[in-house]
Amino acid sequence: MNNPMILASVKEDFYLNFIKDDRYLWLLDGLKTTLIITVFAVIVGLIIGFLVAIIRSAHDKSGSFKILNAICRVYLTVIRGTPTMIQLLIMNFVIFGAVSINKIIVGGLAFGINSGAYVAEIVRSGIMSIDQGQTEAGRSLGLNFSQTMRLIIIPQAFKNVLPALVNEFIVLIKETSIIGYIGMMDLTKGAMLIQSRTYNAFWPLMAAAAIYLVIVGILTWGMNKLERRLRTSER
């Protein structure tokens, strides 16, 4: 084979996989679903994660919230001890099995509840890393527990765990690629659909991989920038 022939076959493959019948739209629509579910899950995960982390660290430090802490521990054990895939299937076929509900909500909840467990442990380590003297200074000024947490501890802890949190979200984006199993078309599923029409695995899968890579790259870049800005502001 000479060069013009390779070029011609690449062109042909590209046309078949992406242009014909507007197949690129499957990737684009899939990407949209991937992003929506990820954002939904990130929000749910952050809320759950911070709540669990605050309850757990308050319990570790002062012994309060005994019952809530026990609930949190069961949650962490179950979520971290079972595959995300199984959690997604249970959410879809058991919890929402009998009702008709937007799959975005099902997926967002499943991934959010899953992510919350990991966020909780990240944030908890951040809270525990803040010197006890910070809490004492806040409390000695007359601030109550939640004011001290909100104004003094969480902002510092958040900054310390920001890289780990972004890392968790990077994992989350990639993990949403199993959402095809409950019948949603995300980026991965979109690529697989193209493959099923064109019998070509290379192009659609490479395209999907490249798109994931670009998203993760943007996130990492943004995080590095933010981190640098947060650090330099205090010195």
Partner: protein
């Protein structure tokens, strides 16, 4: 002392960490305008005593009456009383994510004791008073130890406290910075502030304090005016302690 206004009454205060009895029955009155220096060997319980006064350590026995209210009663809203009890720590404990001025303004504004404008004005006054008006927008990590401690004192003063507790305020400082902090504390004492100071600075205790407590083994072993305390120590442990530190 009967003519004086008692601010804090400590009655048979006890604190145990597990089986370790750190405070073993401390009884004393702290009156308005008094400057009480608390000295003692390390591990004697003097810091625990101080931290009990605003319930950073919860006593396991006895009572603390602050302005007539028993703050060891779990039903009491301790946060309200802590607003009137300033505290200065050995490690400063400034909030590193806030500027100096934000550190000072945070509590009065959050607790709705002042508007932002009032707190800002108060912060400027206090910064001038502690001699650091140009550091308003600096972050704590940019300051020297002595400067940090002066800001920490300003932060406490912003709450207009009735009493200030100092937990070894100069122990974490480089020697050349001890003076500026002690000088500020001295001014504060002369302005009439009621102060309880756990310290190793015998010079400060002798010069500024109106009363000196010697705590060892969780008990007040001796208390007296500084003149008597240092000139005629009676307790053998105090004699021994003074012979080591003076």
């Amino acid at each position: 002392m009967s003519d004086k206004n008692v601010l804090i009454q400590v009655k048979d205060l006890k604190k145990a960490f597990g089986t370790n009895q750190v405070l073993d029955g401390i009884t004393t009155d702290i009156c308005q305008g008094e400057v009480v220096a608390v000295i003692g060997p390390s591990g004697s319980g003097k810091s625990t005593f101080l931290r009990s006064l605003n319930l950073l350590e919860v006593p396991t026995g006895g009572q603390i009456l602050f302005e007539g209210t028993d703050i060891t009663d779990p039903k009491v809203d301790i946060n309200r009383h802590r607003q009137k009890i300033g505290m200065v720590f050995q490690q400063f404990n400034l909030f590193p994510h806030k500027t100096v001025k934000q550190n000072i303004m945070l509590a009065p504004v959050e607790l709705k004791l002042m508007t932002k404008d009032e707190a800002s004005k108060k912060a400027d006054e206090l910064l001038a008073r502690v001699g650091l008006p140009d550091k308003a927008n600096a972050y704590p990590d940019m300051l020297s130890g002595g400067q940090k401690q002066r800001i920490a004192i300003a932060r406490s003063l912003a709450m207009n406290p009735d009493v200030m507790l100092f937990d070894e305020p100069t122990s974490a400082l480089d020697p050349e910075m001890v003076g500026e902090v002690l000088e500020l504390m001295k001014e504060l004492a002369q302005s009439g502030m009621t102060m309880v100071v756990v310290t190793h600075e015998m010079g400060f205790a002798r010069e500024v304090a109106t009363r000196v407590l010697f705590i060892d083994d969780g008990k007040i072993q001796e208390e007296n005016t500084p003149e008597e305390f240092f000139a005629n120590p009676k307790n053998p442990r105090l004699k021994d302690f003074l012979s080591k530190v003076l």
